[in-house]
């Protein structure tokens, strides 16, 4: 514990000295966090400086081994780093699917050359990755994917189509599930490939969502040549890696419902309800909205406490407990309820699409409400999560 205390004071001091002032401000309405990548343009030199300083210590991926550029921190130290960054309002220096999804599985399943090649570039934000999983005919039934990779001796020839590829239009490389054996049972003919989005034959078309934004793309592959050394794990054994990565993805999405508990949209839920519904002797004037705000805040409290219990039980007994199976399901469903409640609270002010008559917070709520509808679909629908709990946790028969 004393050890952690001295680590905390060292980190706090270092962050205060090195985090540039503009990186300690909240994001502006048109700003995004730094996703890195070859195409990244830095309008603010401090954003670049902040990434370089953090990456130099491996703090963009604090728990990865030092030999691949990571911070080499223990989980407890990484938590301290996180807490200190929040305390000092430091923005994350880098966010990416390389950090949250690909990196962890490369560390587990990648060969030495692959780890040396790809991990340091993720740490430094040099390469931005996207995820080639879903296909038009393979959504919840992901293992039914049809994108083919034919063995051509020294390379694979990839043909097919992916959909819901997040930010494929900004990505440099893709981690991609392909079918390498069309005769095997569907789970046993899948391989995990990495390739450059600049490779000839790759093309991308953004998809416009109901929220008006385009975070997803369709991605097409026509005779794309992929060197054999870009196969992760064994050929036809990609499903295991695919599932491990999904686990990381679901944790990430489940966590998105957090931190926003009672806040977000420029004010806490109860404050917004007072502002838009009026007050009666200090209470939210509409008793039904008041009840629902309380319900949401209580749900959120129960959920965050469950996340903490799961982590503490894992620490005490090793391995994540059964509780972790509910994170993706509950986190996303709660987030959807939160936006429904926000819309109900803001009334017609949450139903504007653009232009005059609505402030930025109100317009943002409309868009985020619509975007939240995807949370319980992407990364495995709520129905798939319920199937997984019933089968793996409760042991109910097929």
């Amino acid at each position: 514990m004393e050890n952690l205390d001295s680590f905390r004071s060292e980190i706090g001091k270092w962050l205060e000295e090195t985090c540039p002032p503009s990186m300690r401000q909240p994001l502006g309405p048109d700003e995004d966090l730094n996703w890195g990548g070859r195409e990244k343009k830095y309008e603010n030199p401090e954003e670049k400086l902040w990434l370089e300083r953090m990456a130099a210590r491996g703090f963009t991926t604090p728990t990865w081994p030092k030999e691949y550029g990571g911070g080499g921190l223990s989980n407890a130290q990484a938590r301290v780093l996180n807490e200190e960054m929040r305390r000092l309002h430091c923005r994350p220096a880098l966010v990416s699917f390389g950090i949250t999804m690909l990196g962890p599985v490369l560390l587990q399943y990648g060969n030495e050359a692959q780890k040396k090649e790809h991990l340091p570039k993720i740490v430094r934000g040099e390469i931005r990755w996207c995820q080639g999983y879903s296909e038009p005919g393979a959504g919840s039934d992901l293992a039914g994917l049809q994108t083919r990779a034919e063995d051509k001796g020294d390379h694979y020839l990839v043909n097919g189509q992916k959909i819901w590829t997040s930010y494929a239009n900004y990505a440099d490389w893709i981690f991609c599930l392909v079918r390498t054996d069309t005769n095997a049972p569907k789970h046993e003919g899948i391989s995990f490939l990495l390739f450059d989005m600049k490779a000839p034959g790759v093309s991308v078309a953004p998809i416009k969502l109901i929220s008006g934004t385009s975070p997803f793309c369709q991605t097409f592959f026509q005779d794309v040549k992929v060197p054999k050394q870009n196969l992760v794990g064994k050929v036809n054994a990609g499903w295991t890696i695919a599932k491990a990565l999904l686990q990381h993805e679901r944790e990430m999405i489940g966590g998105m419902g957090l931190g926003m508990a009672g806040s977000g949209g420029g004010g806490s839920l109860d404050q917004l309800a007072k502002e838009y519904c009026g007050t009666d002797a200090g209470r939210i004037a509409d008793p039904l909205i008041r009840d629902q705000v309380a319900q949401h805040m209580m749900d959120s409290r129960c959920f965050t406490t469950t996340l903490r219990r799961s982590a503490e039980e894992a620490k005490a007994g090793g391995g994540p407990g059964a509780a972790s199976s509910i994170f993706k399901l509950y986190g996303t469903e709660m987030n959807k309820r939160r936006y429904e409640l926000l819309v109900k609270t803001l009334g017609s002010q949450a139903l504007g699409w653009e232009g005059e008559g609505f402030n930025a917070r109100e317009l943002g709520t409309t868009r985020e409400w619509l975007r939240s509808k995807g949370n319980s679909i992407e990364g495995g629908t709520s129905e798939v999560q319920l199937n997984i709990i019933a089968k793996r946790v409760l042991g109910l028969p097929d």
């Binding site: 009840d291 219990r309 399901l329 199937n387 028969p397």
Partner: protein
């Protein structure tokens, strides 16, 4: 304090589980019910539980207690909840016992609490007056006399009130019903003149009492806490009792859930276990979510008492609301999934439904606690 159980706590859990499985399985509640037992619980079992240190588990050693925390008491309550064990833990240890522990003077504590810890004193809190939990809605008058107070009023749903040696009566010395100010908590012996106790048999097989106070006289030494400031004491003891009750409910809902999952695996229709049908699988998975969320918040609330945290009151409401909703859902779903057998008196799952509804309403249902949480949170 970590939400993971320590080795000592795991040991207490297995001891408690073994003890209640052997001495107070669900069929014991059925026996008490069918025999129309005048007490409603087994006094000898309560003595044995006291012998294990459970009656005075949170009391200091000098008062005969085990000086453990609510984290430990919660484990005992949870295990009792699993077998629907009828005990005076809620009425005596949590409700009235806390009135004495938190509000009593040295004399009152020494007179009452060591006897409580030995299982020799049953107490009851006479609080509720209407059909719903509303702790400040007190019309019972405590009129000042030269020596003390004269009590007039009616109480209902007084848990274990029919067998209590002493009542803690919440009454009003000033103001009108609904006001927080003006409350007093007074100790009244069962033998007091003008006190009438009527045993009421509840749907869950347990017992409560209606209480009539007709000019009951007590002297000044009966007062617990400060006169007119009874709500401060009442709030504090209700927080603790509510969290304790939530722990008991956690055990009950977990057991009902596990029995249902077992039934889904065993019961065959159309030649397959009914648990293979997706219509039931998803509902089972949703119940599992409620079980997990309930467990987390109950553990957190118990530890908040032990750490004397400022958010105990809020956590009491979050925990009681959550377990009330979870036990409501699981009780109903369990009976439905058991099918025809689920609505027979012979099958035990129906006893879980009955207990669920009583516990849900006791000390405030989910809607009550959402409103209370909102008030405490300033909206």
């Amino acid at each position: 304090m970590s939400l993971a159980l320590s080795d000592e706590q795991e040991l207490l859990r297995s001891t408690a589980r073994e003890f209640v499985a052997k001495n107070s399985p669900v069929k014991e509640l059925r026996r008490l019910r069918d025999a129309k037992d005048p007490v409603g619980f087994s006094r000898s079992l309560w003595k044995e539980m006291a012998g294990l240190g459970w009656a005075g588990i949170v009391l200091p050693e000098e008062l005969g207690g085990s000086e453990l925390g609510y984290a430990e008491l919660g484990i005992v309550l949870e295990e009792c909840g699993r077998t629907l064990a009828a005990t005076p833990l809620v009425s005596t240890a949590l409700l009235a016992g806390n009135a004495v522990l938190l509000g009593g003077n040295e004399l009152q504590k020494k007179e009452i609490l060591p006897a409580l810890a030995k299982g020799e004193r049953i107490l009851a809190l006479a609080l509720q007056e209407g059909a719903h939990h509303a702790p400040y809605a007190i019309a019972t008058r405590a009129e000042a006399t030269t020596n003390g107070y004269r009590l007039n009023g009616k109480k209902t749903f007084v848990l274990d009130g029919h067998v209590a040696d002493q009542l803690v009566v919440v009454a009003r010395s000033a103001g009108t019903s609904g006001e927080r100010d003006g409350l007093v908590l007074l100790l009244v012996p069962k033998s007091a003149r003008g006190l009438t106790l009527l045993r009421t048999i509840m749907v869950d097989g347990r017992n409560a009492a209606s209480v009539k106070l007709d000019g009951v006289e007590v002297d000044k030494s009966a007062l617990l806490g400060a006169a007119g400031r009874g709500a401060d004491l009442l709030d504090k003891l209700l927080d603790r009792a509510t969290i304790g009750l939530a722990a008991e409910m956690l055990g009950t809902l977990t057991e009902a859930f596990e029995r249902t999952i077992t039934y889904l695996k065993d019961r065959k229709q159309f030649g397959v276990p009914i648990g293979s049908f997706q219509a039931l699988k998803h509902r089972a998975a949703n119940m599992f979510v409620e079980v997990e969320l309930s467990r987390s918040i109950v553990l957190e609330a118990l530890r908040a008492i032990d750490e004397n945290r400022p958010d105990v009151s809020q956590l009491a409401s979050v925990a009681k609301a959550r377990v009330s909703e979870a036990i409501h859902l699981i009780g109903n779903e369990a009976v439905q999934m058991f099918g025809g057998i689920g609505v027979t008196d012979e099958e035990e799952i129906g006893l879980f439904l009955k207990r669920a509804r009583v516990a849900e309403l006791t000390l405030g249902d989910a809607a009550y606690h959402r409103a209370r949480f909102a008030t405490l949170s300033g909206f």
